[in-house]
Symmetry: C2
Amino acid sequence: MIAFLVFSIKSKMLYTNSMSSNVIFQKMEITREMRAKHKNQRPVTIWFTGLSGSGKSTLANAIEKCLYEKGRHTMSLDGDNIRLGINKDLGFSEKDRVENIRRIAEISKLMNDAGVITLTSFISPYIADRQKARQIIGEENFIEVYVSTPIEECEKRDVKGLYKKAREGIIKDFTGVSGPYEEPANPEISIDTSGKSIEESAEIIMKYLRDNNII
Amino acid sequence: MIAFLVFSIKSKMLYTNSMSSNVIFQKMEITREMRAKHKNQRPVTIWFTGLSGSGKSTLANAIEKCLYEKGRHTMSLDGDNIRLGINKDLGFSEKDRVENIRRIAEISKLMNDAGVITLTSFISPYIADRQKARQIIGEENFIEVYVSTPIEECEKRDVKGLYKKAREGIIKDFTGVSGPYEEPANPEISIDTSGKSIEESAEIIMKYLRDNNII
């Protein structure tokens, strides 16, 4: 027998007396605040934006490790788990690119509702899309990290060989080569990873999180 | 300065020496297992299915409270946070209904990846859609709870006045009245809430979770 006499019931639902006569109904459910309190943290979304090869995923991964080691509850969203999962129906048309970012933002919001600090690593080259993400997630929960590594450095790394293919015209509309990247005007954090160690870059973000009482 | 010498790096990315010379790279990242371990739980999806008014949301809410009180980390997905958020672009055509359930399943999977026990409350009337959800989420993580309250009882409750509107023809394709509901053949749990208190119904599910070492 489960011992809860003060019982919650969703929205305006009320059961008939036949369902339960000995239960005190109370309009209350588990909230975002309760889930966050459970995890002893302030759930925010850390939104990494920047060119391919700028270091978004590497930095997000580093930050997630730092947070994990501090007992924080995190989730990372990236191409691997989004493009192959919920967004696998989307292509690369303008409409689909907008929808791609919109869904990522909605999922980030749900993750935040679950009390989880969320890290997203997507090029997200358009100001309008990132602005929409900020609106969906909420200004107070949105930390835009512009990974501003210059294209020369990104192209020198060319981890996945994408720049080479873009220069050869094999990949069309490649951000920074044949497609636009709109720089954030007022990102919460801006990091050029060239000439910095990953620890140095990560520390800039960790300091921001500490200074803003997020961790 | 962040003290991690053994450092992880995502997938096949390797930085040039200029990025960092004193860091030992290691292909490792924060995994689903690590996030679950952090929360000391086995992240599963509890998928409530049944007619409108059968008690899905009320039961999900009750279970979430029980789990919360036991220190478990949970998230609830329902019409309120899905239809008004990520799925607000979807209508009620057959194609959109399939897509609605697919996205809910993908989000549940991501929540499980985040280590969170997920509760979903959607009529989800079609066997094929629920089967697809099971595949996406993974057989071992999917607990189908069929809330089998008879339609007469659901209609008697008619919490939102929807049955009345369906009978009057104001709402078309209403599950159980003018639209089909395909009963689960082998749900993990089946509960008829009529004549049971919420505690009694909730205890059936909590017992299942205990017996199967989920909590």
